[in-house]
Amino acid sequence: MAIRTLDVAAIRKDFPIFETGIAYLDSANTSQRPKQVTGAMMEYFETYNSNIHRAAYRIAEEATVHYEAAREKVRAFINAASTKEIVYTRGTTEAINLVAYSWGRKHIKSGDLIVLTILEHHSNIVPWQILAAEKGAHIEYVDIDEKGELRQDQFADLLRRGPKLVAFNLVSNAMGTINPAREMVAAAKKAGATVLVDGAQSTPHQPVDVRALGCDFYAFSGHKMLGPTGAGILYGRRELLEAMDPFMAGGDMIRTVRIEGTTYHDLPWKFEAGTQAIAEVIGLGAAVDYLSGLGMDAVRAHELEITEYAYEAMSEVDGLTVYGPPPSRRAGVISFSLDGIHPHDLATIADRDQVCLRAGHHCAMPLMTRLGLAATARASIYVYTLKSDVDRLVSSITEAQRIFA
């Protein structure tokens, strides 16, 4: 099957923000959102705004239908077996915390081993640190090699010690490294571990098939994949979710509440307490439609093209160091530093040219410590990124070098 190519000019027309003239190179942080997404939210607000699941009139049924339709869209998008396995959360962070509380508190015991990697985002570290401290478990981190790729030899060694949980990201937000997730999940499962994959940076940018991946949990955020803020997903294999206690409790996640005690609702609603982010979930559904319409293979192909272009252009800049693997093994994330120029100063200078660049530790302080850096600059791309956005970045870099010469 031939991979379609993205019509980026047409895509950009769907994003009114580009009329402001920005070169937006911070999509790994949060993406922009097309009219189709905000339009779906506005349609809800203006024509069938109401609460779901609880009401007996037409617009509330309509809201419920749209809310649950989005779940089916997400299920299909990541090829989960059932919508019962798709739990709405605020984002990746809440999804991982849900697992840490509801699965972790039950299964992690004193002396247990949790295996993470040095590439993780804080959201896939701190919940486990807290859990480990509470339970007396301990954590080991798989290191990276000089190319910024996980040391599989070390991972294999750690698996031999029989970890209870293995958690890692499919794509690193700080370096863009695409990890060999399928092999890693298979090895971890074989070693008897429960496996959580942080899909915050993979789901927006490449085809994802959770069943092929074989993991137990998979977490991601809507706001990084053209959806609005406030809605994300925890995928969990049904047996595991069934056996877990609820995370939060309140309206909608119960079957019966009595003074004597309470029984819980079926999956997935058991994990959705209180009024949910209804408009945002509907917006996420529209984002999934939008991405499916483009085709995730085409999305990946476009990003690879821009990444290669950027990688090459930046390699030619004197005094510029790019971290991490070559374009073919990285997502559309380029972390770099400039000799003698602090990333914050670079970002400020780029900002003068309306180039939106991230500077900092990218919520990956252990990785920064490992690299001996306090911060890097990071350019990250998406479906709407043009080669000329990269050109603008390069000229901001040149300008910064002129100023700091």
Binding site: E43, A56, R58, E61, E62
Partner: protein
């Protein structure tokens, strides 16, 4: 707005549904039934129970009891009419669509559980099929 099946049509409270609600058929209890089972829908408080007398694999007699909205009670009454005299084997084949079809009205998503509560009593009670997906 997408088209939804909706309760907002004039047919909803058709005469014969109201009639089944106000004058339920086979209402009451059987003495020492062969099978007796009750289910409720905690969300709206509907309750339906059924007593069966079975002979040679045939539902010889049946009664239902319960309380709740017109849809749940009329649907139970209609179902007992259909079940009386039916071989259990055939009763097993009654589907959701059969029950909804017999009601003859568009049931909105929010009311589906009401309409199908009596079918659940039959499935779980009469031949132990947990209706695993709820509706």
């Amino acid at each position: 707005m997408p088209e939804l099946s909706t309760a907002a049509d004039d047919q909803f409270y058709r005469e014969y549904i109201l009639d089944h609600f106000k004058n339920p058929r086979n209402y009451g209890r059987l003495e020492s039934p062969d099978i007796s089972h009750e289910e409720d829908n905690p969300l709206c408080g509907d309750v339906v129970g059924m007593d069966f007398r079975v002979k040679d694999g045939v539902i010889e007699d049946i009664r239902f009891h319960g309380r709740g909205c017109a849809i749940s009670q009329a649907s139970a009454s209609l179902l007992t009419e259909r079940l009386k005299g039916l071989p259990l084997e055939q009763a097993k084949k009654i589907s959701k669509d059969d029950v909804l079809g017999e009601l003859g009205i568009e049931i909105s998503p929010a009311r589906i559980k009401c309409a199908l509560l009596s079918l659940k009593v039959l499935k779980v009670g009469a031949y132990g099929l947990a209706d695993e997906d709820g509706e």
